[in-house]
């Protein structure tokens, strides 16, 4: 194992390798490129990837003016400080572990693995290597930070309930005859569904997937918000419903496009979440990010995804995904999260969502899928829930 790069200091420029552009890497790369203390050094992937991914890798390398290398040996390059893992979910944990074993700090796409067992293995590798790892979420968005500050200030009193509605307003849904309920309850050995020509993108993922498991894909965001708002209380029990209501691709593949979760935490509060990909007609902006935080003193309700502009008119869904500016200025918090990550690399902060905390959230996802399958509440597996070692309550407050 290589030694992890020593923590830098103010002014250090970190060289970052982009490991596969199979999914969301191009969005991360744009945010990295905007940061003055990060320099994109290379695009890396394993040989033998599907042609679509290899082409995206080459295009991203060309866009940033860096080499594209098809070998994981490149992870050993001592000039690389950080690896951003943007592979398909099926490969994500294995590649993250490989990068950690080379002593590289990690920026991890979400969820970091397809199962809690694999996510725990990532966390183990990160801790053994002594590297910094942060898993992507929206928790550094300005509205989310303002909400955390309000909760931490005590203005709401003790939280008794969190109600979250997080929906992606993507895809031209026209109503689905023959909804499938439950859905998403079959084996989860495959996560990435593309058509052979990679020519269609009905869910507007921007990486040409036909359908995604939306409890994990969209549901990750409200779960992460709930986690940071309620830390260090552990999620112990999950009750979930899931179905295919909007997209024929989800229905035909047996995947969920919409779900609800009810979470029971040690020491409270109660948490409910609705989540999914609900089509362009479902929100005036990019999607609802609604939170109702109920405390023993007061209640706070907001929609972090509320657009600054509302257009009334037309007779159907817009012809393309909306790109309205959010009223909060930044609904997702890409740039603040990258800035926070650089502070972590400097040794000046702890990641707001560590690999260990993320592994606990993946355990919640596992329990949610099992609950939807059984139709009953399911306890989060203790062996993976463990202690909240990765939680850093108040880290950014």
């Amino acid at each position: 194992m290589d030694s992890p790069p020593a923590p830098g200091g103010l002014g250090t420029v970190y060289r970052i390798a982009l490991l596969s552009n199979a999914m969301h890497q191009d969005s991360y790369a744009r945010a990295f490129a905007r940061h003055p203390r990060l320099r994109i050094a290379a695009v890396i992937d394993e040989p033998g990837q599907e042609r679509y991914v290899a082409e995206r890798n080459r295009a991203m390398a060309a866009q940033h003016g860096v080499p594209y290398v098809e070998t994981l040996d490149a992870l050993g390059d001592p000039e690389i400080d950080v690896v951003s893992v943007g592979a398909q979910i099926e490969r994500r944990a294995r590649l993250a572990i490989a990068a950690a074993q080379h002593g590289k700090h990690l920026w991890l796409d979400k969820p970091p693995a397809s199962t809690a067992t694999d996510a725990s293995a990532v966390a183990d590798a990160v801790e053994r290597a002594g590297v910094t790892a942060l898993v992507f979420s929206h928790v550094e968005a300005p509205w989310a930070v303002a909400l955390r500050r309000a909760v931490a200030s005590g203005a709401l009193g003790d939280l008794t309930a969190l109600h979250l509605d997080f929906h992606f307003a993507k895809g031209n849904t026209l109503g689905l005859e023959g909804r499938k309920v439950p859905s998403g309850v079959g084996p989860r050995d495959q996560w990435t569904f593309r058509d052979a020509g990679a020519a269609t993108d009905p869910t507007e993922s921007t990486h040409n997937v036909i359908a995604k498991r939306e409890i994990a894909e969209v549901g990750w965001y409200p779960l992460a918000h709930a986690h940071v708002l309620t830390a260090p209380n552990a999620i112990r029990r999950v009750y979930a419903t899931a179905g295919a209501y909007f997209f024929p691709e989800h229905r035909d593949l047996g995947l969920e496009d919409f779900a609800t979760l009810t979470l029971t935490l040690d020491g409270g509060p109660v948490v409910t979440i609705s989540t999914g990909r609900t089509g362009r007609r479902s929100h005036a902006g990019g999607g609802r990010m609604a939170v109702r935080a109920v405390g023993t003193r007061d209640t706070l309700a907001l929609d972090g995804g509320q657009p600054a502009i509302v257009v009334i008119g037309g007779d159907g869904a817009p012809t393309a995904p909306r790109s309205r500016p959010p009223a909060w200025g930044d609904a997702t918090g890409f740039d603040p999260l990258v800035d926070h990550f650089v502070s972590c690399l400097d040794g000046a902060a702890r990641p707001v969502l560590t690999a260990r905390a993320a592994a606990q959230l993946v355990a919640v996802l596992d329990a949610a899928y099992e609950s939807a399958r059984r139709g009953t509440p399911v306890d989060v597996t203790p062996s993976t829930a463990g202690t909240m070692a990765g939680t850093t309550p108040g880290a950014v407050l």
Partner: protein, 182 residues
């Protein structure tokens, strides 16, 4: 007094669901805090009754509760351990309906001195949504409270099986089927 805009939202959602204006109903959210003296379980049952108006007959109900230690005494004894007991302050209720649609209900007890906050009301259909856009409560605004029925018909007879299912779910920790006479 019930907030007029919340009532209007409630009616609009019922009408939209009945007339399929947003396609087939998928999901209903209702979250509100009720008056401090109201019964949380009864209010949650009323909200479940409203959900049935929107989404159709309920199949089963799963409920979890937030319990807070509250003082049962006043004056200087308040807040001491011997005067504290668990009190149900919030209910999170999942209602599964016959066509696969789902309602998430959150009913809490508003603190005595807190100003009312407009309820969160949302219907998601497979071709659109209906959502309440309520103004914040301004100083001088008459105190309004949430009405879990959102102005729809409600009766103790209609709510009783729903309240019973909520209580059974709280005891068992599992979803409880709705038991109807006949």
């Amino acid at each position: 007094m019930v907030a007029p805009s919340a009532l209007a939202t409630g009616r609009a959602i019922v009408e939209a669901a009945r007339e399929r204006r947003v396609g087939a109903p998928v999901y209903l959210r209702y979250a509100a805090e009720i008056a401090p003296t109201d019964d949380v379980v009864e209010a949650a049952a009323a909200a479940a009754g409203y959900a049935a108006q929107v989404l159709g007959p309920a199949l089963d109900i799963y409920a979890v509760a937030a319990v807070a230690a509250v003082s049962t005494a006043t004056g200087r004894d308040a807040g001491t351990d011997r005067d504290r007991r668990g009190q149900l302050v919030h209910l999170a209720v999942t209602v599964r309906h016959g066509d696969g649609s789902v309602a998430l209900l959150g009913i809490g007890r508003r603190p005595i001195d807190a100003k009312p906050v407009s309820p969160s009301v949302l219907l998601v259909g497979d071709r659109g949504v209906v959502e309440g856009c309520h103004p914040p409560m301004l100083p001088g605004t008459p105190a309004a409270h949430a009405d879990p029925t959102l102005g729809g018909p409600s009766s103790p007879e209609a709510s009783a099986p729903l309240a019973d299912a909520i209580r059974r779910s709280l005891r068992s920790g599992r979803p409880s089927p709705i038991q109807r006479d006949g």
